[in-house]
């Protein structure tokens, strides 16, 4: 068993470090590199950091090791058309890789099964996001997963702190946090609810405190409104609704809030009927993530949130098929994201570069991507809600068929004028 764990860890680590040494999302990493360099080169704290501040603090901490290395005279190089240096990119990924390892160990300890933990650590989508892209979703998922496990052990307070920390990295963590708060209210545990809310407010205040000095207007518009999806900017969206209607995203659709409210109601009803356990908490967190992927501005990396939650849910409800499907889901998401949203060469050489014309250089890639993703999400919900079934090769064929049909009707026949 020990050898299997070590071998899995080693493969997961090698794949990530190897990809991190040359690949990277040139735009996202340039944003992170800029903010960290601003701090370590000029001493200025970046109040315009493009994500929630908790990420900036973590990055600054690990970037300090890079500064030490550079100050020792170690040179660093830029590979191809990337915007960041090679070593710099690796140091920016250390917290992400450590998070992936942490999640692997948590899943392994919780389930006792190496393969369940490997479905996370060796999932191509997670490797792609952490190793190749360099985005920080795993940093949010580490406290998210630990929150679920604390909850399973009856440690509600630690669970709510974990969820709050997760939410301070990416707001999704506040979904299970909110469901836990509802549970406390439904069970009339008002003291627990107050403690939970107080802890979250305290952590949020600590996290945002340095930003408050930069002016409340920037804080309000740059953080509160932007991260609630109420920004005035009409930015692109990858969800199926926007892709089919041609709409530009300008604030959250009312469907997002309607859906989250419906999830909250369903969670309370479910819990009242079947008991306040981990199962409804995981189930409705999964549904909320799927809903956000369909109706909000849904960045492609958001799909990764479903992977650890589905693995835990699969173990909890003995849905072997769901665990297997989760791994396949990751493969499909990686394939779609690389070929339809970025081009194969984008993360490799740092500029859009098509290698396979037939699957990359096609019209209406976002429509093909979003409709196929919708198909995979609906299938995932099928595994979650219907009686447990094994993961069969027919599902691979089904998803391939959806992709080919969407490709034909939307990219070749162009039946939707967007």
């Amino acid at each position: 068993m020990k050898n299997k764990v070590l071998a899995t860890l080693l493969v997961g680590l090698i794949a990530r470090v190897e990809l991190a040494s040359f690949a990277g999302h040139p735009f996202d990493l340039s944003l992170f590199a800029y903010s960290n360099r601003l701090y370590y080169e000029t001493g200025q704290f970046d109040f315009l950091f493009p994500a929630l501040p908790a990420l900036y603090y973590v990055q600054l901490a690990f970037y300090s090791l890079y500064v030490l290395v550079r100050d020792l005279g170690v040179p660093d190089l830029i590979f191809m058309y990337h915007t960041n240096f090679i070593l710099e990119g690796i140091f920016l990924r250390i917290p992400l890789i450590l998070s992936d390892v942490g999640i692997f160990l948590l899943i392994f300890r919780f389930t006792g099964k190496v393969r369940y933990a490997a479905f996370y650590l060796l999932n191509p989508f997670i490797i792609y996001l952490t190793g190749a892209w360099g985005t920080y979703d795993s940093l949010m998922m580490l406290p998210l997963v630990s929150g679920f496990i604390w909850f399973a052990k009856g440690q509600r307070r630690l669970a709510s702190v974990s969820f709050a920390i997760s939410g301070l990295v990416k707001l999704f963590g506040f979904v299970p946090f909110g469901l836990l708060a509802l549970q406390n209210l439904a069970q009339k545990r008002f003291k627990e609810f107050a403690l939970q809310a107080g802890t979250a407010v305290g952590l949020a205040f600590l996290s945002f405190a340095p930003y408050l000095g930069a002016g409340l207007q920037d804080f309000y518009v740059g953080f509160v409104l932007r991260f609630l999806g109420l920004s005035g900017a009409q930015t692109r969206a990858y969800n199926v609704v926007a892709a089919l209607s041609g709409l530009r995203f300008a604030g959250s659709s009312p469907f997002v809030f309607f859906g989250l409210a419906a999830v909250a109601v369903a969670f309370v009803l479910h819990s009242v009927k079947w008991g306040f356990s981990l199962q409804p908490l995981l189930l409705w967190s999964i549904v909320a993530a799927v809903w956000l992927d369909i109706f909000s501005q849904s960045e492609p990396q958001w799909l990764s949130w479903l992977i650890p939650m589905s693995i835990l849910y699969a173990f909890l409800t003995k849905r072997e098929g769901l665990a297997g499907y989760t791994y396949f889901f990751g493969i499909i998401c990686t394939f779609l994201s690389i070929t339809l949203l970025q081009s194969v060469g984008y993360l490799i050489v740092g500029t859009p570069l098509v290698f396979f014309n037939a699957i990359e250089a096609i019209p209406r890639t976002v429509v093909v991507y979003s409709v196929t993703v919708l198909g995979t999400l609906v299938t995932l919900l099928g595994y979650v809600f219907f009686k447990p079934v094994r993961f069969k090769i027919e599902v691979v064929a089904l998803i391939a068929l959806i992709y080919l049909q969407v490709y034909f009707w939307f990219s070749i026949m162009r039946i939707v004028p967007v």
């Binding site: 493969v11 601003l38 080169e41 550079r70 830029i78 190749a132 297997g324 990686t334």
Partner: protein, 389 residues
């Protein structure tokens, strides 16, 4: 209290697993926190810069359309001419109707109709055109003129937003600032006394495209520009655009991002686009923004990679300007609060050397580490070593 302390001390026995874990975590936090504090501002490399864009702020002015100085009545056919490589019919009946029949050919084809005009650039005319073109072809509008010395010039350029527009099959309203068009095309302001003498509308079909297509122009007029200057950073009125002169032209070398803090008010449905220009060039552009219910304040992000259009009004040729251009509706209130201009040193060319023949090998290497090795390992765990669990 005694019980609580006893309970805590019981959980944190020296040598216990949890105790060791907390120590490891504490050490890790300290190991990272100390250099974070003490290494601030010490990195020798200088690759980033953030400047205050308002440090040389000069003026703020609101711009809007003034009275009509010329309008086409679409009644005099002799003032229009027709030319091109395909059969076409031009008709005027309080609007212009150009019908073209393109036969399938191996090369692109075009038909154009030209209207003579006499619009002085000294009046800074804004031309407004309402027109529609059938789907399947592209169209465009070009302006030509003469200087006071009778030297002819073109006030259009390849790649500007008036060229090669796809026919949408619906009516569109297009505006063009003739002085700006001259400026963008020639990279210098027009000489005093220069005039636009010719307006050309064209329809073009790609190679192998065939069929009957039409262009309809229902409005063609020119208006003067009204400018309202403000000495402070605040303006009230009804404006199509707001132009802030930020002082001497900035360099766009290494320009990374621009953050603009602004207060803006207007009717519901007001949408606007912020631009940063340096002389005649648009160096950064923002998203299209809508006004919010929650606040009039917006922190707009502009980036060089977002540049896809030009504003209707430009600033001074020797200055950098922030231009906030209304897309729909009029701006009633505007206040400029902050501008942060960020530079990021461009990577050296040395980093970009790799033989393109090796790109393919690199892609395979990428696929191996992303898909092949992880999937092979998972298959081993699921199929071969499963019984051990």
């Amino acid at each position: 209290m005694k019980t609580a302390i006893y309970s805590t001390s019981k959980n944190f026995r020296f040598g216990s697993k949890s105790f060791r874990l907390y120590w490891v975590l504490l050490l890790l936090v300290l190991t990272l926190a100390i250099p974070t504090i003490f290494l601030r501002g010490t990195l020798q490399q200088k690759s980033v810069l953030q400047t205050n864009g308002l440090s040389n702020f000069a003026t703020l002015e609101g711009v809007t359309l003034g009275p009509t100085i010329w309008a086409e009545s679409f009644t005099n056919l002799t003032s229009w001419s027709l030319s091109g490589s395909a059969p076409a019919i031009l008709q005027l009946n309080n609007s212009l109707a150009l019908s073209v029949a393109f036969a399938s050919k191996s090369v692109a084809q075009a038909v154009s109709t030209t209207r003579s005009a006499n619009l002085s650039l000294d009046q800074n005319p804004i031309v407004t055109i309402t027109m529609g073109v059938t789907r399947g072809v592209s169209y465009g509008i070009r302006f030509f003129g003469v200087t006071p010395n009778n030297a002819s010039f073109a006030a259009w350029r390849e790649g500007d937003s008036l060229q090669h527009r796809p026919g949408l099959g619906t009516r569109e309203t297009i505006s063009a600032n003739l002085a700006s068009e001259f400026y963008l095309a020639n990279q210098k302001p027009p000489l005093a006394g220069s005039r636009i003498t010719k307006i050309v509308f064209y329809i073009e079909a790609a190679a192998l495209a065939s069929g009957n297509f039409a262009m309809t122009v229902t409005k063609l007029q020119a208006n003067s520009v009204l400018e309202t200057k403000a000495t402070s950073m605040e303006l009230n009125g009804n404006f199509t655009a707001v132009v802030a002169d930020l002082g001497p032209a900035i360099t766009n070398q290494g320009l990374f991002q621009v953050f603009v803090g602004l207060d803006i008010g207007g009717p519901s449905g007001l949408t606007y686009v912020p631009y940063l220009t340096s002389g005649a060039s648009v160096v950064a552009q923002g998203f299209t923004y809508v006004t919010k219910v929650a606040t009039t304040y917006e922190l707009a992000l502009l980036q060089p990679s977002f540049v896809s259009s030009s504003p209707l009004f430009l600033g001074k040729p020797t200055s950098s300007s922030l231009i906030v251009s209304a897309k729909t509706g009029l701006i009633n209130f505007f206040r400029l609060d902050s501008i942060s201009i960020r530079y990021l040193a461009a990577p050296s060319a040395a980093g970009q050397i790799l033989d393109p023949a090796n790109y393919q090998a690199l892609a395979y290497y990428y696929v191996v580490f992303l898909f092949v090795i992880p999937i092979a390992m998972v298959l081993l765990l699921v199929k071969v070593f499963r019984d051990e669990e």
